[in-house]
Symmetry: C3
Subunit: 428 residues, 3 copies
């Protein structure tokens, strides 16, 4: 995964334009090619309360100082140009230039990441330590950028079908509009890509899996405007992936109600991980803002390693290839795989016999991972199979991951000691 991040890192992405399209193609190739469906919507289209912005083209940008030095060179680091900047080619004095410069006094050696999608202006982002050295004089500024009102905005999706007859879906959504930064955001799309590859190889999938790759905010708004009714009907749980490649924490941002299946399975899976942090929807920041907005109201949480805004490198040139690691990305991928395994095993079961069954005569009287001197898991699982608790509930009581109960459940189903509540027309 780290290699794929490295390949994507240098590209100058924005919410529209060639960089975004190129990045989608690289992800598609990583999945095997011809997997992702890439869509476009015309600039100027109305989407709910918004309008799709013009397509942005950027080729070059730099500043020539009074003594002829080239600084803020887009070709050195594309963060130097204000993302979605208008083009410019002029000379001006230092005071006028200052109005177009962005830097962070507290992090003097970092180039900040600044955007201006909905107010057209031009600008450069610069390390504060370089900015303070700028001398009086005439500066030449050059940005070779254009906005095409007849352009498009791109996004992609992928539906991995269930192996059963169902329209129930799990949503995985991530965004790809940030230029050269690693944790936020290349970690999200890259983990999503490898998660899709893993899912494609599974022999059985209870759910359909919908992967969505969009530019942040406007992209998820576009996607929702196209598919709202269908998603509201079929999405059972969803996950926004962001900042999921560092090796520090595991973070969960809840839905507003905190009680959807997505909240439940993510909390069950992550709560015992090292340095787990639980956030309310007040601390949201990515596309869960759209998915969970009141009239949309989808069951979508956000899963991160270190949450956006909880690390100081966030939205600067310091969020670079050193900030993330293969281990960090693998940890993020594993967490999502566990969430999915827990969803796949989850179901409501009910006992089929009165009283405890006779395990001995079925050769089941083995202690399945006995813990802390408590009664055996197999009997405890049956004790709570009351047609109301689901497997997540019971696993939480037993302090294990739901997917760890998979073999036990298969054995009990084989011996017809439990029946899925869905098809249970029963005794009580």
């Amino acid at each position: 995964m780290y290699e794929l991040v490295c390949e994507l890192f240098p590209i100058c992405r924005s919410i529209t334009g060639a960089g975004f399209r190129q990045s989608l193609k690289i992800l598609d190739e990583a999945m095997g090619g011809g997997i992702l469906k890439i869509h476009s919507i015309a600039s100027g289209s109305k989407v709910f309360d918004w309008e799709v912005p013009a397509e942005w083209e950027i080729n070059n940008a730099y500043i020539i100082t009074p003594n002829g030095e080239k600084i803020c060179d887009f070709k050195q680091n594309n963060l130097h140009v204000l993302n979605y900047s208008t083009g410019i080619d002029t000379e001006l004095d230092l005071a006028s230039l200052q109005e177009h410069l962005y830097s962070i006094e507290e992090m003097p050696d970092a180039i900040p990441y600044v955007t201006s999608y909905y107010k057209r202006r031009w600008g450069f982002c610069i390390k504060h330590e370089d900015r303070v050295k700028l001398k009086e004089g005439k500066y030449k500024v050059f940005i070779d950028a254009k906005h095409y009102e007849n352009g498009v905005l791109n996004y992609a999706d992928l539906l991995i079908p269930s192996t059963q007859e169902t329209k129930d879906e799990i949503l995985i959504s991530t965004y790809l509009c940030h230029p050269s930064m690693a944790n936020n955001e290349l970690s999200g799309p890259v983990v999503a890509t490898f998660l899709a590859k893993w899912l494609l190889e599974l022999k059985e999938r209870k759910y359909n899996y919908r992967f969505v790759f969009v530019p942040e905010t406007i992209g998820s708004i576009v996607y929702l405007s196209k598919h709202l009714k269908y998603l509201q009907k079929h999405i059972k749980a969803g996950f926004v992936l962001s900042c999921i490649g560092d090796d520090n924490a595991y973070s969960l941002i809840h839905t507003p109600s905190e009680n959807t299946l997505a909240d439940k399975v993510a909390l069950h899976t992550l709560k015992d991980k090292n340095n787990f942090k639980e956030f309310s929807f007040l601390d949201r920041g990515s596309d869960e803002r759209q998915y969970c907005s009141p009239l949309v109201n989808l069951p979508v949480v956000c899963v991160c390693r270190t949450r956006f805004g909880d690390y100081k490198e966030y939205h600067t040139s310091k969020d670079d290839l050193n900030f993330i690691s293969e281990e960090g990305l693998q940890g993020g991928l594993k967490a999502m795989q566990e969430i999915i395994m827990n969803l796949e095993v989850n179901e409501i079961y009910q006992n089929t016999v009165f009283c405890e069954p006779n395990l001995g005569k079925r050769d089941l009287y083995i202690d399945h991972c006995k813990r802390e001197g408590r009664v055996e898991n197999i009997l405890s699982f049956l004790a709570y199979c009351d047609g109301k608790n689901d497997v997540l509930d019971i696993a939480s009581k037993l302090s294990i991951q739901a997917y760890e109960l998979k073999d036990l459940i298969e054995k009990l189903k084989f011996h017809k000691l439990i029946q899925s509540k869905n098809i249970y027309k029963g005794i009580q």
Copy 2:
């Protein structure tokens, strides 16, 4: 307010009689005159399980010691006479006198406040340090008091109308039957009086406000016997004011269920105040006992500074003009004003657009009182406007007072980004 307390302080009040009527008139004048409606009910009237007691008249009372000294002089301090005492004019020896004396051994320099409303007897209240000095000999006791079986019990109310079309009411109830004590109880009626003045000057009132000034217990029982059905239908929240003039704590006594609008708004308003104390209905003590009794079941909490019984000066001559202060009274008044502002702003709203609205195009993209790095309040407010949370719920999540959201709500309503759920016949 402190001046008004001083004016009322010397009057000898009881549950019936001239002192109570005179006090009501002083409060009415403080409101501007002709504001309060003063009512009377005949002694002997049946009210639920009770009977209205006879009217009490008291003119003078004292004891002459064997050596001719006048002690327990009513004209020095009206607490000296047992409140509601029968008249007496006789001579007796010390042993017989002792049976009619009340003092507090643990507070030797305080005159206790003692009443005997439902058993006719005479008596004097005396500092314990004076009592122990009494010598053997003949004592002359004189109490010029009468009970009129054909008298009346008085109480007053005031309805400040809503500026909207509604019968919904907020109840403010306080009692005025205690003689010369300051926190319990002149603080309650005086804060209520100034709260009424403030409400009368507001340009807009969503609710009708009903103020009730009664003698404690029997007065609220009388009031409920007259208006029960109407109050049960229209009171949305109510507040008993008592012991609200000292400068030590803020206290809330909950209803039995602890989940009415009154509990919710009072807790929201007071919980972050200095030295806030929360009590269950087990710790009740004033007219909330009647308002919250099971068959009455009104949503009425009691709001105090230091709760009755939580300060040792309670029900003694030490609860005097030094125990309270203008600052203490102002703190009590402000707490009640905040409670009312929070009630006035409270409502259930719902978003009108899908996804987050485009704030930029409406020039709303300003950080309204940003806090602790969380997403801006305007977006957070919208995120929780789901047609279920009310403004109190959302403000509690944002850790601010509901009334602080007033401007923001007005802006969102102006831009039609939210609609009141009451009139919302909508999309979902």
Copy 3:
């Protein structure tokens, strides 16, 4: 009670056979004789998922060592023989013998209690300190035991009728299949016996009381197979008694839902006892496993002093007559009596008058056990008598045992100030 335990202690019980029958008869005599109904079910009968095992007869068992010493003598301690062992009469060398010996390395001076009900084998239980001294050579082993396939399994019950017209029942269940051990299990049947004696002498019983004495697990399964529908309809709360004769703790094992009347009354009664321990159903271990199994779903908790498995003497010869005491048994009996008194007094009441009643005119204005300066219990009780709280709820608020409110409730009923909600067709 201790004497009765001593009488029962030497008998070799098992899940079937003469020892069990003899023990039932001793309990019946302790109740007065002819009280318990003793039932039998044929070996081989199908009961739910199980089959009733053959009847076991044991007369003698021992080992003769190579030097002629008799060890593991059944007549010295019946724990020496594997419970439900097959018969044997042979000679073998030490290595072969070892395969049939059971001991506890960590408790070298204790004979373990081992059973083998569902796999036919023979064996001896021995102190580990004796086992390690065994020398090479020929051992003679002798067990005079038989299994009768045409035998029976016995159990007993007793229904103590309510003095009112009701079919509502309280279940007390205990088991009697363990041989010479004291806390587990003679404490359970002996406390149940004395509890039945106490109940038989009460003048009034609101409920019917059903006592069940069974061999553990298979016995309760048999009982449920006979009476399931009736028990599901009429049992309002039930209690399994086990390990209830030591003097260390009080323990409650909840039902899976933790919110039945049995959970509520047991928690209310026991929670303030010295060294109280609360367990979830995960820590179950006795017949509550059957009573609370999902399709049976009876409201039955388990009440212990020190829970099975929480003391190291459990299931060894160290759980002897020294481990329990008359005080321990009395504590267990008293806890169960309090639970029953709390059930008997429990009911939902509602006030009959609006506002607080006038207690003075009924001479009720006495402070019934005033506590911590709170308003008097009589008024507090009335304040919460809202037709929703039951007496257990109110007593918990007042921090007293429900049965302590009995006199107060009788007085209020006498004065018609409260009415039972069951018969209340009332004002609201």
